[in-house]
């Protein structure tokens, strides 16, 4: 198919990109909210009910991460260092502990079970999150170094 003519000028294109950006994050946080609500409604043994939302959410998250890594982009404000990764992992682990502890308490009415679910999520999510962040930070630094050196080579060959 031939490339169709773009009906938008550069300002309209920029506005459309902003609208699509907002829609993307609305979908991301909306899906996460839907997953949390359904976890509270149906409990933790409801993977079949959550599967659709979970798959779309993960595809979105993996695409965003992979595309950023490929282009040597980490975050607007956070740095890809060990201290920041530790802090982010701790925040994620605390959120997961609250979520799964809360779900266990609401669904199964057991304080002991809720505490166990919270502790297990805290440890597991912290370990997984910190490992994933450390690996991706390493990959990001390598990509960034490669992209920066490519720029130098291009400048020298001009």
């Amino acid at each position: 198919m031939k490339n169709m003519k773009n009906n938008l000028d550069e300002m309209q294109e920029a506005k459309l990109l902003q609208i699509e950006h907002n829609a993307c994050w609305l979908a991301f946080w909306g899906l996460l909210a839907a997953l949390v609500v359904q976890l509270f409604l149906f409990g933790m043994d409801s993977f079949r009910i959550l599967a659709g939302e979970w798959i779309v959410f993960m595809v979105l998250a993996v695409y965003l991460s992979a595309a950023c890594l490929k282009n040597g982009i980490w975050d607007r404000r956070l740095k890809a260092d060990r201290r920041t990764n530790l802090l982010v992992s701790l925040v994620a682990a605390a959120a997961a502990a609250l979520l799964f502890g809360g779900v266990a308490l609401v669904r199964y009415h057991s304080a002991g079970g809720a505490l166990a679910a919270a502790l297990i999520s805290l440890v597991l999510v912290f370990a997984c999150c910190f490992a994933a962040l450390s690996l991706t930070a390493r990959s990001y630094k390598k990509t960034l170094a490669r992209l920066e050196s490519q720029g130098d080579e291009d400048a020298e060959s001009d």
Binding site: D9, E10, M11, Q12, A14
Partner: protein, 68 residues
Amino acid sequence: MAKNLKLKAARAGHDLSQQELAELVGVSRQTINAIEKGEYNPTIKLCRAICRALGTTLNDLFWEENEE
């Protein structure tokens, strides 16, 4: 961003409406309006197209001495 009065004056000097200038450079009228009102920062490509259409230079239309 400050209003681009130089662009407005140059366009008026050529007796062109926003619509006519927009058609000359291949954008919408709302884009020319947004540039004149300082609401949109155009790319260098569009700046050059506007300069060519109005027979001026980038310095004449888009350079500000004390830009913050």
